[in-house]
Amino acid sequence: MRWLVFLFFVHFFELPHAFGQQVYRITGKFSIKVKQGETGNLTMGQFYFDAGTNSILYKVRFPAQEMWLLRGQKMHRIIGDSIITRDSIMGAVDFSLFNLTVNNQLGNYGLKDSPFKITEVRKEGDLVVSTWSPPEQLSKLMGKVLISQKNRRLHAVVFLNPKGEVVRKQFFSTYQKIGNLFFPTEIIDLFYLDGEIITHQMTTYSDIQLNATDEAHLYNFDLAGVGKP
C-alpha cells in the first residue's frame, strides 16, 4: 500500500509562493456549461478565491441560489442556512486555475513539483509540447500527460491512459491580463470514452478582479455560522 500513499502525497506548493505575486484574492463571474449526450447543464455565479485560507467559494445564482465552498480537500454545498453535503474533492483548490495562476504554475499545470517527470520537449508548429511521465511504479495505473504552450502560455493539456489513449483534453484560451497575471477566461474540456467524446464542457470567467476588499466575508467564509439540516 505504500505506493498508494506515495501516489497521492507530493511536495506541492510552498505557502510563501502563494504570495509571490502579491495576489491573494481573485473574484469574478463564472459559468460552466456541460453537454453530455442529450443532457445539458448550466451553472452561473460569482467565485471568490482566497490563497490565504486555500479556499474557493462559488456563489451560484443559477440553476438555484446556493454556495459551494471548497476548502482544503473538502467541498461543502450550502443551501439556505444548511450544509447539504460535505464531499472530499481531491486537489480541487490546489489544482484550480486560480491557485495555479497565483503560484505561477499554470504553464506546467502544477506538474513541475509532482511525481511526474518531464521526459520530452519538442516543438510542433507554434506549440511547445512537453511530455510528463508518471513514476515507474505508477505507470500501470496512469498514462502520460502532454502539455502544450503557445506564446509561453498554457494552451492545452492532454491526459493519456497507460495504453496511450486519450482520456481528456483541456484547452485554455482567451487570456486576459489582469494586474500582473495572464488569466485564461475560456477553458474547453473534452472527456473521451472509447475514442468518442462523451462530455463537452466549457468554463468561462469574466469581470475578474484581484485583491478586492469588498465582500471580505465571502473569501474567508465562516462555516461555523451555517447550521446543519
Partner: protein
C-alpha cells in the same frame, strides 16, 4: 507545506481512445454547435439576472428544457478514492485500506465506511475459516 496530489482521479476516471496525431486539435465548430442551446440560455440569464431554474421552468419552458435542475447531475466529482467505494477499500485492503481512505479523502465518514468494510472482510474471513474447520472435523469423524 505538503498537499495532496490527486489529478490521478481525473485520469483514472475515464477510459478512452487516442486521437492520433491531432492530440492538440479538436473540432471547434462541432463543439460550438453542441454548446449553442446552452449559450442562448446563458445570454438570456445574463439579461434576466436572478432567474432560477424553477422560474425558467414556470415561464420559459423551452429554455428550461435544455438543462437539468441539479447542477451536479452532469459533473463527475467523486468523493470515493480512485472511484472505488470506501467500503471495498476496507473490505479488501483491511487496516491499510482504511488508512489509505483516510489519507486520500481526509474524510472521517469515508474512513468509517472503510472500517465497516474492513470488519465485514474479517467476519467473512472468520466465517470461511470456521466453515472450513467444521467441514474438516466432520470429514475426519
Amino acid at each position: 507545506m505538503k498537499k495532496l496530489f490527486v489529478i490521478v482521479l481525473a485520469i483514472l476516471s475515464c477510459n478512452a481512445a487516442n486521437g492520433g496525431n491531432d492530440l492538440f486539435d479538436f473540432d471547434e465548430s462541432d463543439f460550438r454547435a453542441q454548446m449553442q442551446n446552452l449559450n442562448d440560455l446563458e445570454e438570456f440569464l445574463m439579461v434576466h439576472e436572478g432567474l432560477t431554474y424553477l422560474d425558467l421552468a414556470a415561464h420559459h419552458e423551452h429554455l428550461a428544457s435544455h438543462v437539468m435542475e441539479d447542477p451536479f447531475s452532469a459533473t463527475s466529482w467523486s468523493r470515493e478514492p480512485a472511484g472505488i467505494p470506501s467500503f471495498w477499500w476496507g473490505c479488501i485492503g483491511g487496516i491499510l485500506g482504511i488508512i489509505a481512505v483516510f489519507l486520500i479523502t481526509q474524510d472521517e465518514e469515508e474512513a468509517r465506511r472503510a472500517l465497516w468494510g474492513c470488519i465485514t472482510g474479517y467476519l467473512v474471513l472468520i466465517g470461511a475459516g470456521l466453515t472450513y474447520l467444521i467441514l474438516l472435523v466432520t470429514l475426519i469423524e
